[in-house]
């Protein structure tokens, strides 16, 4: 199993580097989704470096360990950075994000064989169901592992989300923990102007979930929420963590707006952003000629 990082300050350092990776990946690709990626960086860092039990070598079936499904697949930059920093594939491969012949597709996929990915996501609302399916399989097999799923808040407008939300408590999937990136923004504007989520806590509660609201951009809070959720195994109730986050967290001009949901910064903006984020572990070396191994094509 991969060794865990328990120290909150150390996790914050990793998160700072992950945010740098996100900015640089999106800049070099001239496309991608920095806003949600930056907002979910603390949760993703906490999950992958402290909370989840992960085997040293990636195993698709996740037997005896935890699994993560990113239903909001457009925030792939944060997933790729965290996976690379966790040793799933070479750091330098982040250079290939969104480029031709890459395993780091615009949205995550199993199709090119990237270690760490268990299903393709991007068309919203689907990855949640897949996570529910794996949680169900783990129950059938008396497997000790947990399944973690992330969704966006705008994603909750998809009908399939609520099919899965109805199913999980009925099947007593207390090994399932969902985090919602509750930043209040989506591509076309604030949730409340596009299609209000209404009483979000109440919605999940009436569907039969244990609901936790936490600050998704405070490392200690999100670590606590994730780890506390895992103590409820045996209660037969799944947990949803509604994370209050800022889209664009960590880069001042990207925060509090939907403008950077799916837009890449130019060189000047990238430099301005990077100046606000401490380089703690060393930036990955950008290599535009990097050749990914084992491409299926």
């Amino acid at each position: 199993m991969k060794e865990k990082v328990t120290d909150i300050d150390q996790l914050k350092q990793i998160a700072s580097q992950v945010r740098r990776d996100i900015l640089r990946m999106v800049y070099f690709a001239s496309s991608g989704h920095p806003g949600g990626s930056l907002g979910c960086t603390d949760m993703m860092t906490a999950l992958y470096f402290r909370v989840m039990n992960q085997s040293d070598n990636f195993e698709m079936n996740a037997k005896g360990q935890d699994a993560f499904f990113m239903s909001n697949g457009h925030i792939s930059p944060v997933l790729y950075s965290v996976l690379a920093r966790r040793g799933y594939f070479p750091l330098e491969e982040l250079s290939t994000f969104r480029k031709i012949n890459s395993r780091l597709q615009g949205h995550p996929t199993t199709h090119e064989g990237l270690p760490g990915i268990r299903v393709a996501t991007g068309s919203l609302g689907q990855g949640f169901s897949v996570g529910v399916g794996m949680a169900l399989a783990k129950k059938m097999d008396n497997d000790p592992g947990f399944v973690h799923v992330s969704t966006g808040d705008g994603e909750l407008q998809e009908g399939q989300i609520w099919e899965a939300a109805m199913f999980a408590p009925f099947h007593k999937l207390d090994n399932l923990i969902v985090t919602v990136d509750w930043n209040g923004q989506q591509i076309d504007g604030p949730n409340d102007k596009i299609l209000s989520l209404g009483d979000l806590e109440g919605k999940w509660r009436t569907f039969g979930w244990r609901v936790v609201v936490t600050d998704g951009n405070d490392m200690a809070s999100i670590v606590h929420a994730l780890e506390e959720a895992r103590t409820h195994r045996g209660t037969e109730i799944p947990t949803v963590i509604l994370m209050r986050t800022n889209m664009g967290q960590g880069v001042d001009f990207m925060m509090g707006t939907n403008a950077w949901h799916g837009k890449a910064p130019n060189m000047e903006q990238t430099e301005k952003g990077l100046a606000q984020l401490k380089e703690t572990l060393g930036d990955y070396v950008y290599n535009e000629n990097y050749q990914a191994p084992h491409l299926k094509h």
Partner: protein, 319 residues
């Protein structure tokens, strides 16, 4: 090989074959999971549920979630067989199949009953005629339309050992049974049911029996017919198709599906590329169905035995 040797040994719905097949599959492999979206009776799952209650997943009326949960079960190493009507198995959940199953390469078996016009009285809302086309367009998807109840059972067993996403299409009505109860199903293999030289008749699913009946009538008129059953629409047995066309140099293709997108297109594609020849198509001519009895509908929409006979006579004249 004489077409008159192909005889019906009884009448049974292909969905009954599915029920028997999934039960047998459950006995053979403990990873097999049967799923239903509130239609377990229609898919004849009672025997499986009684024998393996812990390996049955009732989804309720939530087909999109069923496809995702199936993908998750498969990720964990299970072999899920989803179950609902063909319409709700494909058109309703196409994007879920495309992203979570096909593109993700998941070992999910999408099992679809009540396909085509022969669903009957429920009408066009439920009579999907586009599913073969949609599913065969997906990269890596295997598409199987068994010809009778025995073959449906055998196809289920073959799918247990096949790794990868697959679509199994079967139907509602009682239908002649003419394949062997224990004849193993080989994915990707077409079967020559009668050997002839004047015209090829290719058919899939329930239409294979109509093709057999039409061939018998044609043989009685002195026409030599090569009858090829094509239960696997993808991957297509191109060698068998070209072997037949090289003898007959004309063909009729029959399917209970839109004339666009399905077996007609698949065989025409192979022929045009390798062995261009006159062809006629017995399929639904770009229209929706309606309520009625299965045989009434097949007649009205041009899919009965007489239509196949006439199509064969016409295509021979065009040689």
């Amino acid at each position: 090989m004489n077409i008159h040797d192909i005889v019906s040994t009884g009448s049974k719905a292909t969905r009954d074959g599915y029920g028997e097949g999934i039960y047998e599959a459950g006995k053979r492999n403990k990873e097999v999971i049967a799923m239903a979206a509130d239609l377990l009776g229609s898919l004849k799952l009672e025997q499986f549920i009684e024998a393996f209650p812990d390996r049955f997943v009732q989804m309720g009326i939530s087909e999109a979630n069923m496809m995702g949960v199936a993908a998750g079960l498969a990720t964990a190493g299970k072999i899920p067989f989803t179950g609902t009507f063909a319409n709700f198995s494909t058109g309703r959940v196409y994007d879920q199949i495309r992203q979570s199953i096909a593109y993700s390469g998941k070992n999910v078996k999408i099992c679809a009953s009540h396909a085509g016009l022969t669903l009957g009285e429920d009408g066009a809302t439920h009579q999907i005629l586009e599913d073969i086309g949609m599913m065969r367009m997906l990269p890596g998807m295997t598409v199987i339309c068994p010809v009778d109840a025995n073959q449906t059972k055998q196809a289920v067993l073959a799918l247990v050992d096949h790794v990868g996403p697959a679509y199994l299409r079967f139907g509602r009505p009682n239908w002649p049974v003419f394949t062997g109860a224990d004849t193993p199903f080989v994915i990707g293999k077409a079967d020559r049911l009668g050997s002839g030289t004047d015209v090829s008749i290719f058919a899939t699913g329930l239409m294979v029996w109509n093709a057999v009946e039409a061939a018998k009538a044609l043989e009685d008129q002195g026409v030599s017919v090569d009858v090829i059953s094509v239960p696997t629409v993808k991957p297509l047995d191109e060698a068998m198709i070209l072997d037949s066309l090289s003898k007959t140099r004309c063909a009729v293709v029959c399917e209970e599906h839109q004339i666009n997108g399905g077996l007609c297109d698949a065989i025409a594609h192979v022929a045009v590329k390798n062995q261009p020849c006159p062809m006629e198509f017995v399929a639904v001519k770009d229209s929706f169905g309606e309520s009625g009895k299965p045989m009434e509908l097949l007649k009205k929409y041009g899919l009965d035995v007489d239509n196949i006979v006439r199509a064969a006579q016409n295509v021979i004249k065009r040689k």
